[in-house]
Amino acid sequence: TPSPPGSTSVLAGLYGPAEAKSSRELPDRAALEVLLRPKVGLPGVLERSREQLLRQTCEAVLLGGLHPRTAVTLVLQVLSDAGSLLSCCLNAACMGMLDAGLPLSSLFCGVTCALDPSGAIVLDPDTQQEQEARAVLTFAIDSAERKVLMANTKGSCSVEEVR
């Protein structure tokens, strides 16, 4: 079924634990690789930096020590983008790992906040709100102890506002 207009959707595919090339295998845990494909065009620098953020977040919850010398590959394909793309990718990655049956120490979710020029906080902004905002912050929060796993900021905001 087609997504309702104005919604962000990401398709996640997870492969693993599979055989790793000897150059990539780690002796004590699984090597996680994330590939993010945009809706149009080739992946660029923005996708690469997001892939690293996603990889570090997923490695924090994945119990890689149970599958040493293996490779886990996560492929994310952007189907539609209407704002809050990074937190949608985080949610898709978490759902993918849960559905594939990989051992996890907790689940996590992604949340985007936009600070508009007046200082008000908007949760899960759409594309227009993101462009008008002074700063856009994305957080990954884990389910076990409600701690922040990852924080990403675009724009400028003061330390008090982050709290």
Binding site: G16, P17, A18, E19, L98, A100, P103, S143
Partner: protein, 257 residues
Amino acid sequence: VMSARGEAAEVCVGRVVLPGDVLLLPAPARPEEDEERLLRLGAGAGPPRGRLLCGPGLRRCAAGLLVTKGGVLRHRAAGGAYWVDSQQKRYVPVKGDHVIGIVTAKAGDVFKLDVGGSEQASLSYLAFEGATKRNRPNVQVGDLIYGQFLVANKDMEPEMVCIDSSGRSSGMGLIGQDGFLFKVSLGLIRKLLAPKCDVIQELSQLYPFELVLGMNGRIWVKAKTVQQTLILVNILEACEYMTAEQRKQALAKLSGN
């Protein structure tokens, strides 16, 4: 916040649990005994009271058991085992599992088998019933072998054998020619291997066939004709998502043909 996280394990049996949930274990029967000594993992003889077995999908943590896979929590009173029934397609070798492997290489005295895991398993040519150095089994690259894991842990290459501990093959070994091999999810295999499986009984009413189920998600079927084999393959693949009613209807239509 920490104390509110855990729920008693008995309450959660039969419910869906998610990674990150902590299951609290019942207090020891004899209060003067140390808690640490009572919560033990794994095998070994010993008094059943207070002993606990931690199955797939669970790991020990400071407060009790930590759930690592999403699924339904199950409990077996005999032996006090808890485990999570989860679904996945990727197989991870476990010692003692019977699997179907495909021979990919012959390296000296050892065959290399693809079992669907992250590494290839090794199988010695002497691990067949009645095999000696002069009497080697006739196994070629591309053949199917049904065997069990002798060694399977995360640190070592998995090893398979086609004989059990007394030296008999008990149904293991080279799988014959013809037939059809296909892959399904691990949950379906566990359902088909359950003691009273309706699917297999209903299918045996339809045509006579040979069936080998591997715990790595692979099924080998052989019936008298190619058409019957393909019909069985389609039914087995579809019965994962069919209810019992739909399956009975499909089989009734086929046996009417």
